[in-house]
């Protein structure tokens, strides 16, 4: 699981360090940097793996814009670090991006991956002949006693780790890539959840607009999970029976069949926003990878009726415990806050619009007000 994230010089994140656990609830005012942390994770995932849903690779310039440099910092270097526990050790990924103003695209200055301190990949910039900087890289293999391959002229416009394919001697590195692909980072927007899909997509995108395409993939690759999801949705959505994903010309149309008051099918986009959000949230639980998985959801409570929030959250906790999964939630909802904050809460704050600071919630006290009430009254931290 993700253990630590470090970000410097990215929007409101300056020398920002956050250590996280299995269950994590991010709280704080609007504009306090919670979603920005998710955006960093998304950018790093896209940078290393490309966009799996759209099978697209990304250059540095596609993801890292100079407008995202912290406005009040003078440095043109952005730094990102991830510490990920898994495969019996700790992976440490480091990326530095150098911005070059308006006339040249940003480029990688450093990209490295280690496993328990053992190097797996290293990219750096060296002064080449005639003083022109040259990107160089070294790819190591799993055996620390074997010397890695030196790559003298390495492309600094895209991730080196992303370019490396699985081989028998680099399983540690490819395990890391697989783990990065198991970050599902979403902010569900039921307004744009389409019922049509042109192709199968192996993961949901940020806003879940490709839900139908993800469902098409899951119905082929994970039929058992879809079966469990269907049984659960039958309990949650009144009259729901099953999904149908019919082919119609070049596309598939995802519909939900209902049995009450009479048998009828509704396209996904004909369901209510709350129903679509429920379907998306339960699909994230029931159809996610089997283990080593991180679910990041920005405000899952949006669109849900009050009685639906706790049952969903109960399922999330069960799922985490059973599957060694990790969950990071951003929420403003009192019931989630009161349920989770005392053990798993992180308070984000920005005094006078300066850099983000994060504190673990330790403010609970017997007989005092609940954490949600303290937040509502503005009585939490900010001293």
């Amino acid at each position: 699981m993700l253990k630590r994230i470090y970000v410097n010089n990215f929007r409101c994140l300056v020398n920002f360090e956050l250590t996280v656990a299995g269950l994590n609830l991010f709280m704080g005012s609007n504009g306090s940097g919670k979603t920005t942390v998710f955006e960093v994770l998304r950018k790093l995932q896209k940078f290393i793996l490309g966009d799996q849903a759209f099978q697209q690779d990304y250059k540095v310039s596609d993801l890292f814009a100079s407008k995202d440099l912290t406005r009040w910092q003078k440095s043109n270097i952005q730094k990102f670090e991830l510490d990920i526990e898994g495969n019996g050790g700790i992976y440490k990924y480091t990326l530095e991006i150098e911005h070059q103003g308006d006339y040249a695209p940003p480029r990688m200055r450093l990209e490295s991956l280690t496993f328990d301190g053992q190097p797996l990949f290293n990219f750096w910039v060296d002064a080449g002949d005639r003083g022109m900087p040259v990107g160089q890289a070294r790819l190591y293999n799993d055996d620390p006693d074997r010397e890695g391959a030196f790559l003298p002229f390495f492309d600094w416009s895209r991730s080196g780790i992303g370019l490396i394919y699985e081989r028998p001697d680099n399983l540690k590195l490819t395990w890391f890539k697989k783990r990065i692909s198991n970050f599902f980072i979403v902010q569900i927007n039921p307004y744009i959840m389409e019922s049509k899909s042109l192709k199968e997509e192996s993961s949901p995108n940020w806003d879940m607009s490709n839900y139908a395409a993800w469902y098409s993939y899951l119905s082929q690759e994970s039929q058992g999970k879809i079966f469990k999801l269907t049984l659960e949705l039958q309990k949650i959505i009144q009259g729901f029976d099953s999904f149908q994903n019919h082919k119609s010309g070049d596309v598939r149309i995802l519909s939900a069949s209902f049995t009450r008051p009479s048998k009828a099918a509704y396209r996904l986009n004909e369901l209510s926003h709350g129903q679509k959000a429920l379907i998306a949230l339960y699909t994230l639980i029931y159809c996610s990878p089997d283990d080593n998985f991180t679910l990041c959801i920005d405000e899952p409570e949006n669109f849900l009726a009050l009685p639906e929030i706790k049952p969903w959250w109960g399922r999330v906790i069960d799922y985490c415990l059973e599957n060694q999964a990790q969950v990071m939630l951003i929420s403003h909802h009192p019931s989630l806050i009161n349920y989770l904050a005392s053990n798993s809460g992180y308070w984000f704050e920005r005094k006078d619009n300066e850099a983000v600071r994060v504190r673990r919630i330790t403010d609970t006290e017997e007989e005092g007000l609940s954490v949600a009430k303290l937040i509502e009254l503005g009585w939490i931290y900010d001293e």
């Binding site: 006290e365 007989e367 005092g368 007000l369 009430k373 509502e376 009585w379 900010d382 001293e383």
Partner: protein, 198 residues
């Protein structure tokens, strides 16, 4: 009136929306910024009923968190509870016992002198204050035993009355001096108000 940075953020614990709008409007008239005034929230969902039991219930928890938070934030609390068929002293005593049973039973107020916590107890209820504020200048008699509540008034009318009364109290009655206020529970509230150090 412009707001001042040294004014506290005020949390209002009260029985219903009439009381909340009255206190809020009064504080705004005294220079507080609207966003600095927070409503604790009516746990019963804003039903206009006798709700004073919930005030006694939540007061100790609010005070506990207030005492912790005041160390690093300039905050204040206003509590309002109707006397109804009891006296002002009875209501104060029940709040004091809820906060500190020993002190309350000895008729001592457990609030420290420097705690910005004001307790308003309209007698017989907030409508008595509204009636006094809007009619006393015309010389009409007002007492704390009569129930002046007009149960036919809509929620909108009650809110308008609460705001109008708060403005009149702040702009016309208070500037004449506390001694000119004849209604005992309202005069007592003025001394409580000094605790907020506005």
């Amino acid at each position: 009136m412009t707001s001042r940075d040294d004014l506290p953020e005020v949390t209002i614990l009260c029985e219903d929306i009439d009381q909340e709008r009255f206190i809020r409007e009064y504080l705004i008239c005294r220079g507080l910024e609207e966003r600095k005034i927070k409503d604790f929230g009516n746990p019963k969902g804003r039903v206009i009923e006798n709700n004073n039991a919930s005030i006694v219930k939540y007061y100790p928890a609010l005070m506990k968190s207030y005492r912790r938070t005041r160390k690093y934030r300039n905050i204040a609390v206003v509590v309002m509870i109707d006397a109804d068929e009891d006296s002002l002293d009875d209501r104060m005593r029940s709040l004091n016992i809820a906060l500190d049973e020993t002190a309350g039973n000895l008729n001592r107020d457990p609030r420290l002198p420097n705690e910005k916590v004001a307790i308003f107890v309209p007698a017989r209820n907030i409508e008595t204050w509204f009636y006094y504020i809007n009619n006393s200048m015309e010389g009409q008699e007002c007492n704390e035993n009569t129930d002046y509540k007009d149960k036919k008034m809509s929620a909108e009318e009650r809110i308008k009355l609460a705001k109008r009364s708060a403005k009149k109290l702040a702009r016309e009655i208070c500037p004449q001096g506390v001694d000119r206020i004849a209604l005992p529970s309202l005069r007592y509230a003025c001394t409580e108000l000094q605790r907020l150090q506005l």
